[in-house]
């Protein structure tokens, strides 16, 4: 009995989940050309693209799942891994690189306690992304925290910015 309840609850949760996706698909229309906007909206909703949702989108758009996967992996804006609430992007363009962005990367990694190969903290709060040129070369080295560009960064300045974020987060928690 308990099992059946659990199963039906799981099912209804799943259908509720796809309801949202269905609404997104309807908003853009189930055409192949709408694939990218749909994926963008899904990513906005979930902060990443869950596998079963890619299958759902593929079926809804009458596309082979492999094609959808190809698009999803092609663009850097899409992530197949869950991402944190705050996204810290360190620019690794040529200008930032020569202005020693590597020290920024190692500072952020250390501050967030990220292990080798890990990009999102275990509490799902922060994600570190190392991106190619963001076009703010005059401000090199640049770091983008939650969409806000911080120019001419130093390890001290980036630590300070992260600490401020953490403080704001804690205040919000209370």
């Amino acid at each position: 009995m308990a099992q059946a309840t659990a199963a039906s609850e799981k099912e209804s949760r799943a259908s509720r989940r796809f309801e949202k996706i269905q609404a997104i698909v309807e908003q853009y229309g189930a055409a192949e050309s709408a694939l990218i906007p749909i994926l963008q909206k899904v990513q906005e909703e979930y902060r990443y693209l869950p596998e079963e949702i890619l299958t759902f989108v593929a079926t809804a758009l009458n596309l082979p799942p492999a094609t959808v996967y190809g698009v999803a992996t092609f663009y850097a804006q899409f992530s197949l891994e869950p991402k944190g609430k705050y996204i810290v992007r360190v620019c690794d363009g040529t200008a930032c690189h020569v202005r020693k962005n590597q020290t920024l990367i190692s500072t952020v990694k250390e501050w967030l306690g990220l292990k080798e190969g890990q990009s999102t903290t275990e509490d799902m709060r922060y994600t570190l992304e190392i991106v190619s040129c963001i076009g703010a070369c005059a401000l090199a080295p640049a770091v983008v925290i939650n969409g806000k560009v911080h120019g001419q960064m130093t390890p001290e300045k980036v630590t300070k910015a992260l600490e401020e974020l953490e403080a704001a987060e804690k205040a919000e928690d209370k």
């Binding site: 596998e51 082979p64 799942p65 492999a66 996967y69 190809g70 992996t73 092609f74 850097a76």
Partner: protein, 691 residues
């Protein structure tokens, strides 16, 4: 002429049609340009950049595989500058290629290896650690991917997208991070996945069945025909030391299979190498099958068969050669003295075989596979082609997707081809005759009522599609005529459709879709109850189905060549019971099949890979099969077994070569007139238009 352009390549002038690619024009002049991503049957993509040439007026080198010719174009290929570019491109490709040729399946037949040898740099300047990935990655149970070796030509992805339209594999990621992948948890299960292995210009895609089984230079290649369905795809049998068949590869025949094979055919080499192949004749003594000499086995078999006389029967096989089937029916009729001969034990409706035989004899079925893509409309009736005759599925997809032709697809279930159809007609099972009559009425403009479950407007649309075409291909499954209730009426309706279309000046070709590699041949050479070779009427005999039905009463002895009724999909129990009622069951096969277990005499025969002979495919093209490996143990070719049995019985079966049997067939069967091994040639000979 406005549709032609003249250009100069390496100082030589050539005139080619507009739209020709530079590389194709160069090929016509015999100028070799190295390629990886380019393939004649795939759309150009320009991914590998290997085929760079210098074209005057362009500041930079151009890829010859995706540049179209233009009037007055001047191309330079064999210049030091171009050679330098080729060398540099190869150096680029080799930066990330592991060069593990000594353990690579492709080593020895690898385009990357060959081009490097011909055009590549003598040395590498790359001194760093190469990329490493986990390998091999199984994309399916049959196809493995070695990501390190992949040079990203995308031939595999393009084949699946353009030709097979089953894009289960795709390019993941971007730029330097590109790799071929499947959707997580959804294996690469296309019917045609094996072609990607053959297309791969490096050892990145591997066959799990061939991997580490042989090196290309110790392989012997034999030209043959795939025995698995009625298409008759041209293959090469690759074997090691004339003993082990290691793989089948596609042999290019642009009129049958182009460059492709289906997975069912390609990966079906295991029964040849079966460790349990029969090596000696077996005779039942004291209830047990025991090894015996050929003479002993054949004597016992002959005694039993001849004792039964006209109560004996013989069932040959649609997967055996014309020569074997011809001799088999001759042996049954002349030596055993029975009219009960057939090539199948399928249930057929009354009179359908006769109707079909006279339609074949009057050359009603004159369709050619290569004309599928030429016709404007294809009417496909009663066959799930994608499963029954997979290569024809590719022809239809090409016609519909690439050439914009119309498909009218009629089948009770929503088979794969239904999505290409306009319209798809899903008639009710068992109402084939009603359905075809409705269609024929619509085409001829006679009034009719919808009875078979298809909407009137769909039938009207189908008839409009057919009537507005200039050239129509009609493809009909043999089972729709022979197994369906009132199958004779199906044939009549088809003739009606063809006549109505012809009277509107529509060209029509009709193809009979048969499932066996040599079903057509078996019928042609007279392995049919009531018909002698060439469909000459003979005394009535029982069909295979009736022989099994009457086993123990009217039939007391059966000789079954190359068939396994005891493992029939639908009638296993009934057939097994029937086989046990026989006084004498002779089974001629290469392994101890379920049927052979009930036999009194088992005669070990050769597989197609050890046999010389001919198959006649679904379009009635006669093609040659050749022996690749040595005979296993004391097994013998079907023809030799029958010749030996006949001479033991004192009959005059005097053939010293297989070709002599073919000569006799060509003298007896009108459509086979003039057919010899030489006349058939490497690509077969189409017989449908011979009178």
């Amino acid at each position: 002429m406005p549709d032609e352009v003249t250009l100069t390549i390496d100082g030589k002038q050539i005139t080619v049609p507009k739209g020709t690619l530079v590389i194709e024009a160069a090929k016509k002049l015999g100028i070799d340009i190295p390629v990886f991503c380019y393939h004649t049957k795939l759309e150009p993509v320009g991914a590998c950049r290997q085929c760079l040439v210098k074209i005057e007026g362009f500041p930079k080198p151009q890829v010859s595989c995706s540049t179209q010719v233009a009037e007055g174009m001047v191309v330079h290929v064999n210049t030091p500058e171009v050679k330098q570019m080729w060398e540099s491109m190869l150096e680029f490709l080799l930066i990330n290629h592991p060069l593990d040729c000594p353990v690579c399946d492709r080593g020895g037949e690898c385009p990357l290896q060959d081009n490097t040898f011909k055009y590549g740099p003598p040395d590498s300047r790359f001194e760093h650690e190469k990329r490493h990935f986990e390998k091999p990655v199984p994309l399916s149970s049959l196809v493995l991917l070695d990501r390190e070796r992949c040079i990203l030509c995308f031939r595999c992805v393009r084949f699946q997208r353009e030709i097979a339209d089953q894009p289960d594999i795709y390019v993941a990621n971007r730029g330097y991070g590109d790799y071929i992948d499947i959707f997580p948890g959804k294996p690469f299960e296309s019917n045609f996945s094996g072609n990607t292995i053959e297309l791969c210009p490096v050892g990145a895609l591997l066959s799990s069945l061939f991997r580490f089984r042989a090196r290309p230079w110790e392989i012997t290649k034999t030209e043959s025909i795939c025995p698995n369905c009625g298409v008759g795809c041209n293959i090469t049998i690759d074997d090691r030391r004339r003993r082990y068949v290691v793989r089948f590869l596609a042999r290019i025949n642009d009129e049958v299979n182009e460059h492709w094979l289906c997975d069912r055919g390609r990966f079906n080499s295991h029964t040849i190498n079966d460790p349990d192949r029969l090596v000696k004749p077996l005779v039942r003594k004291n209830g047990e099958l025991q090894e015996a000499t050929w003479e002993e086995a054949l004597t016992v078999a002959l005694e039993g068969m001849r004792a039964a006389g006209s109560h004996a029967g013989g069932i040959g096989s649609p997967a055996r050669t014309n020569e074997a089937n011809y001799l088999f029916q001759k042996f049954m009729r002349q030596v055993i003295g029975t009219n009960n001969v057939d090539y199948t034990f399928e249930k057929r409706t009354d009179g359908s075989t006769g109707a079909l035989a006279s339609a074949i004899a009057s050359v009603f079925f004159n369709g050619r596979i290569s004309d599928i893509a030429e016709s404007d409309a294809i009417l496909c009736l009663g066959s799930d082609i994608s499963y029954d005759l997979p290569l024809l599925d590719l022809w239809i997809k090409k016609a519909v997707r690439k050439l914009g032709k119309n498909l009218v697809f009629a089948y009770p279930l929503k088979a794969e081809l239904a999505k290409y159809a306009r319209p798809f007609l899903s008639y009710h099972y068992g109402q084939e005759a009603e359905f075809t009559r409705e269609l024929a009425s619509a085409v001829s403009g006679t009034s009719w009522q919808p009875l078979a479950g298809v909407r009137m407007e769909d039938i009207d649309l189908a008839s409009e599609v057919l009537k507005s075409a200039n050239y129509v291909t009609v493809m009909v499954a043999k089972s729709m005529i022979e197994s369906a209730e009132n199958g004779r009426d199906v044939l009549k309706s088809l003739q009606w459709i063809a006549d109505s279309l012809k009277s509107r000046n529509v060209r029509v070709q009709v193809m009979l879709l048969v499932q066996g590699a040599n079903t057509f041949g078996a019928m042609d050479v007279g392995l049919l109850p009531g018909y002698l070779p060439g469909y000459k009427p003979a005394d009535k005999g029982l069909t295979g189905w009736e022989m099994l039905e009457k086993a123990g009463s009217d039939i007391s002895a059966l000789w079954i060549m190359g068939q396994n009724p005891a493992r029939d999909l639908f009638h296993t129990e009934a057939f097994t019971a029937a086989l046990q009622k026989l006084d004498m069951l002779v089974v001629q096969d290469h392994i101890l099949t379920e049927t052979a277990r009930y036999a009194h005499v088992v005669l070990p025969s050769s597989t197609f890979a050890e046999t010389e002979g001919t198959f006649t495919n679904t379009e009635r093209r006669i093609q040659r099969i050749n022996p690749a490996i040595r005979r296993v143990g004391n097994s013998k070719a079907d023809t030799d077994i029958i010749i030996e049995a006949a001479s033991l019985a004192g009959a005059d079966f005097n053939y010293s070569k297989v070709e002599e049997i073919l000569t006799e067939i060509s003298n007896t069967v009108p459509q086979y007139q003039g057919v010899t091994f030489d006349a058939i040639g490497p690509f077969g000979r189409y017989l449908g238009d011979l009178k």
